[in-house]
Symmetry: C2
């Protein structure tokens, strides 16, 4: 087709993913007829799911492959494909993408690696690829593609599709790694868990995770969205689309790597030590209504449990067993997650007594242990029916013990029968011995089945969770990671805060101690004396702070302090700060800049407690008044601030306003600000306001704002 | 044989378990010829492992079963068995045990249930059973028995033995549940993990978990001991035997249920809320050198990883992969446990560059991602050899990606070859797709293989752990759980403490406020005023505390306080306490009585911080001076106490002495004491000593010591 014709407008992400997942006409460019080669895999897989649209194999050797029409080049395609899978190497992929885009193809998967993931040269190539795509949308590069099990469209180069047992289900997957997509697909096959569509986003040169969430939200075959995340490219957009997914009734669950990068921000800011990047993601997921999973295998099992479709009305769990130990382990894991195991109600207990001969089951106890009686199917089946139907529990777990090795249907059959009834409460199975085929059968029949008691309990907790996502704050501008910081002195930080409505105690600054004493005569003793040193975050580490100093002692204490700090640092401090003392509840108010997420506001326990108590809350900036109030309320020390234990309540009004002012200051300064922290921020009793007792400001190198003290 | 003959001395636990695990002559009493019946299982299983000793089946019907000599009664046995398996019901079991004991049998397994686990009647029957046994030792009742895989002795009624793939190995198991023993045995078969001996202790009427640990310590076929614990019957003895096992070079790992019983002690004591029963077990395991596992499946996989025999010299982990996502997940899980992933050294990087054609592997990076090059065995095999032999890492994890679905030997074969070399560092495998047969093959060949990244990282951390067990304190007398407490008033508690060397601030007590002011004139203001009320643990909740009161204000403030408390409680307080104020570091010093473990001493952050900061340490009482110092040093606030951040160090000497005195007081009062807590205990600067600012004492009902105030 002719180049230079009128180009169509770029499809939206939703349209592009729609074209890739449900295409009419597919071209596999560079696909090989050799199924053993990687470029042969998309050719091998495309028709395996029953894809019935037009299929073109673009390869100059014109190989003959059943189901495909071979053409020698993209230009030779007899019609415009809506979707393409580009199986060529790095250079060939760029050329093919240019040709496909010129043709008017809506979207293409690009398999090749060698782009941003391989350094600066690769990043250039990726820019070239993106330019070549023009209005055509890309999934990748460096991706294994996608698998739409609902419609049988397999645009993938992953051998995981060879795993037996892969099936349709209601869980949609978006993964920032093709290998992880493959792992989930393969493991699901072995466990009888089904998927709707799986998407691997690769380098996200164009389409990214947020687009996939948007697509899966619109996909009627997807009820639950499972995400593997390494780093979000558009955090604010992710929050928006995830919230829309949740609002549409689709649970979103994420496994995010980066737990061990906590501390990455800690280099120069002590707030960073309390609030690393990983906690920033925790805050983001909370705001988005996304359930964060802590174990990789949960990314397979928990979405499947939700996709079985039932929800618990509450946290009451019944456990039915024939073996004590396994039930104890389940009960313990449930208790650890705040689930409760109430005893049976009188009616249920009476009915149970009639079903179990000899009456030697303790019907007051939960777990309900049928012991030997449970090995008879004429007992087990009606007991499962009874407990599944009773109102004493919101969910039922049935344990399969060692007797299931010899009799795998004894418990599984009645469980599957009950689970199929409309309106039944969630029924789950815990399989104690090694019975993979029973596990698979139960999952396939809609009975979430587990061999890990902690995962079983986590699923029960999730089925009972009803809390709506946290309120949504307005989108901020994302800020890149600031360069190494220049630490200002304390007075500089306090003046900055004062200009934005956060006051400090009255103070005087002098070059030496006698002058300091003269100035201090106008202030109210006792005093805090501090060394003023630029670039020093922890004055007290070098003996640079003296508290409760009487006016008469200022000259001697001040001189000693200056000498001590001078000796410790090898140079005399710039000046001595004399400040009035203030008392109240001590908090920490700070900013951390996450390399991926931009600025976040931190509020927490302050003073020396800040380093002992891990009581901080994070929120993406900007924070409005309502957001500030929610931050305060979510602290563990909130009851104390509000006046628990007979204490006077603090000035919560002023505290909330200080958080909002601080956030506005952070927004205003943008990326010139590398760090800013008030610690302690003293909050007085109601009406007394707040005072910044100490503060640290750090500026990005070469980004110091004009007019700031130097 | 004649009754009433001279009875032999009871065998030791070690002898008894030796007789059960390696018998010469076994009698299965009440065994059935029907393999489908439970009583038929021990008959079915006894010879399956090749047991070649004498086998008797005691059954009045004299059934014919291959391998057994049938006799009609115990008395008819032609020789004295050293071990018996009693497969009869409750009543029959007691009679059989009596007969076996009379014969001189060393030890018997009792399968029957219906003893202590089923209430008071059952407890009576268990006492009867124990009396019937006389000097004969019992495993059980209510146990599935034992499986000695090393010697092929299966004295068990568990169908788990039907699982294919069960094999010998170096992990010994003792479980307080037959079902859990069965679950581990069955799952191990499916994963290629082997065991030496598995013991299920059941009701522990006689032989208990500590005996099993002792036996497995002596067993040359056991290198690692894995324990499933519900409640220890002899905690102090357990600590002793576990320490001996660890000293003998045998790692001891335990999965203990009871995490959700954490609030069980919280009812009457507020120390309980900070330091529940489960944390008491944490303290006990730390003292015993036992590694506590947090997930049930770890009880299978982590002992197996240790039993593979290799240990890491440090925490440096290399990760080799062909797929980025799975390696990222492993790296992240490793980092979260404090393991490090250093880059390759120059020599290794150069060697790697020669092995990988094209040189497009980034040798500075770890995980080492071979990408497509790794799918060629002529590359993968020598790279594994190179990394297994290099000095850059202390352990190596190799990821099997989706390509292993089609080519399961590509990575597994060279990995197995390398692992077999003597002196090699630990080599582990992470299997990303669903490949159970590959997982099994690797484990069987001594390459610990995982499908759960968090377990893989936990195994690596365990292989690198070198910390010796915590110092051992002297055995205390175990105390039963105290009954509901009567709370004494504050003065009663403080007098008790003073008599044992823990002073309080100077004080006066008066019936009303004017009298209080008169007495306070002899003390130094400002004062703390408090309502004295028996049975009230939290005075401040009802407005019963006023701080910083001047002498002149005592009448008004005191009267208001008494009125407030009187109104809140519906009755006037007994008296008003006026006390001098004191300042310093605020700690909590308390006692909790664990239903299973007896008294434990608690030390932690005190004052209002106690409820915010989870900074407490627990130790079995009594605590000696060295133990007290270790408790102090293990607090997170220890650096502050020792003078970090320019603070003055506190009187650590006096604090340690206070802990010892407190512990001695707890020992002396024994179980009359239901609760005792000092909070805050104020510690002054060096030489200034400690002061108990507030204290609560609770007495067990009807166990109040003579002479204590009433």
């Amino acid at each position: 087709m002719a180049e230079g014709g009128a180009r169509p407008a770029a499809p939206s992400g939703l349209q592009a993913l729609g074209a890739l997942c449900r295409p009419q006409r597919v071209a596999v460019v560079g696909g090989s007829a050799d199924p053993g080669k990687i470029a042969g895999r998309p050719v091998r897989f495309l028709h395996r799911g029953g894809f019935a649209g037009a299929s073109y194999l673009v390869n100059p050797n014109l190989p003959e492959v059943a189901g495909f029409t071979s053409v020698g080049s993209v230009a030779a395609l007899p019609e415009v494909p809506d979707a393409a899978f580009v199986a060529l190497g790095t250079a060939g992929a760029i050329a093919a993408v240019r040709e496909l885009a010129a043709l008017g193809t809506a979207a293409a998967v690009v398999l090749a690696a060698g782009f941003t993931e391989s350094g600066a040269e690769g990043a250039k190539r990726q820019a070239e690829l993106l330019a070549a795509a023009g209005p055509m949308r890309l999934l990748g590069p460096n991706t294994l593609g996608l698998v739409n099990l609902s419609d049988g469209v397999y645009l993938t180069a992953s051998d995981a599709l060879e795993t037996p047992g892969i099936s349709r289900g209601a869980v949609g997957v978006a993964a920032q790694s093709g290998g992880i997509m493959a792992s989930l697909l393969s493991r699901a096959g072995g466990r009888g868990i089904g998927f709707s569509t799986l998407l691997a986003t690769g380098n996200e040169a164009d389409l990214e995770l947020a687009d996939c969430v948007e697509y899966l939200t619109e996909d009627d075959n997807t009820a639950v969205i499972a995400l593997y995340i390494e780093a979000l490219r558009s955090p604010r957009r992710f929050v928006e689309v995830a919230r829309r997914a949740v609002a549409a009734g689709k649970a979103v669950l994420a496994y995010k790597v980066g737990r061990s990068e906590a501390g990455a921000l800690a280099a120069s800011s002590h707030t960073g030590a309390l609030a690393g990047s990983d906690r920033a993601y925790d805050a983001l997921f909370a705001e988005a209504g996304v359930e964060r999973l802590t174990r990789f295998t949960d990314l397979l099992e928990l979405p499947a449990a939700l996709a079985a479709g039932k929800r618990s009305a509450g946290r009451r769990v019944g456990v039915l067993t024939t073996t004590g130990g396994a039930a104890t382990v389940i009960a313990d894991a449930c208790g650890a997650l705040g689930l409760v195991l109430p005893g049976l109600g009188a009616a249920t207990a009476a009915a149970l007594g009639e079903l179990v001969p000899g009456g030697d089951v303790d019907a007051s106890h939960n777990p309900i242990d049928l012991t030997l009686a449970g090995t008879r199917s004429e007992v087990m089946a009606p007991v499962i029916e009874l407990l599944a139907a009773c109102d004493d529990f919101d969910a039922l777990v049935v344990v399969l013990g060692s007797s299931a090795v010899a009799r795998p249907r004894l418990v599984a059959d009645p469980l599957i029968a009950c689970a199929a009834r409309p309106g039944a409460k969630p029924l789950l199975a815990y399989v104690s011995p090694h019975l993979p085929e029973v596990l698979e059968r139960l999952n396939r029949a809609g009975v979430p089945a587990f061999e890990d008691p902690e995962s079983c309990a986590a699923a029960l907790a999730l089925l009972a969770a009803t809390s709506p996502p946290a309120p949504f704050s307005a989108p901020p501008a994302a800020a890149p990671h600031a360069a190494a910081a220049t630490i200002g002195d304390e007075v500089e930080a306090k003046e900055l805060l004062a200009r934005h409505g956060i006051p400090s105690p009255r103070r005087a600054v002098a070059a030496e101690a006698t002058e300091a004493a003269r100035l201090a005569a106008h202030l109210t003793p006792p005093f805090a004396l501090k060394a003023l040193v630029r670039g020093l975050a922890h004055k007290s580490d070098v003996g640079g702070v003296a508290l409760g100093v009487a006016l008469a002692d200022v000259p001697a204490v001040g001189a000693a302090l200056l000498a001590r700090v001078g000796a410790a640092l090898g140079a005399p401090p710039a000046a001595l700060l004399v400040e009035e003392m203030a008392h109240g509840e001590e908090l920490l108010l700070g900013m951390v800049r996450d390399p991926g997420l931009g600025a976040l506001i931190v509020l927490g326990a302050g003073g020396v407690a800040a380093e002992l108590v891990d009581d901080t809350v994070l929120r993406l900036a900007p924070v409005d008044r309502r957001g500030a109030e929610e931050m305060i309320a979510s602290l563990r020390l909130a009851p104390l601030l509000q006046g628990a234990r007979g204490r006077e309540p603090v000035d919560l009004e002023a505290l909330a306003e200080a958080v909002v002012s601080f956030s506005a200051l952070v927004e205003e300064l943008g990326e010139t600000l590398a760090e800013l922290e008030v610690n302690p921020l003293v909050v007085g009793a109601a009406g007394e306001g707040v005072l910044a007792l100490d503060a640290v400001v750090g500026w990005s190198e070469a980004m110091r704002p004009q007019g700031s003290p130097s």
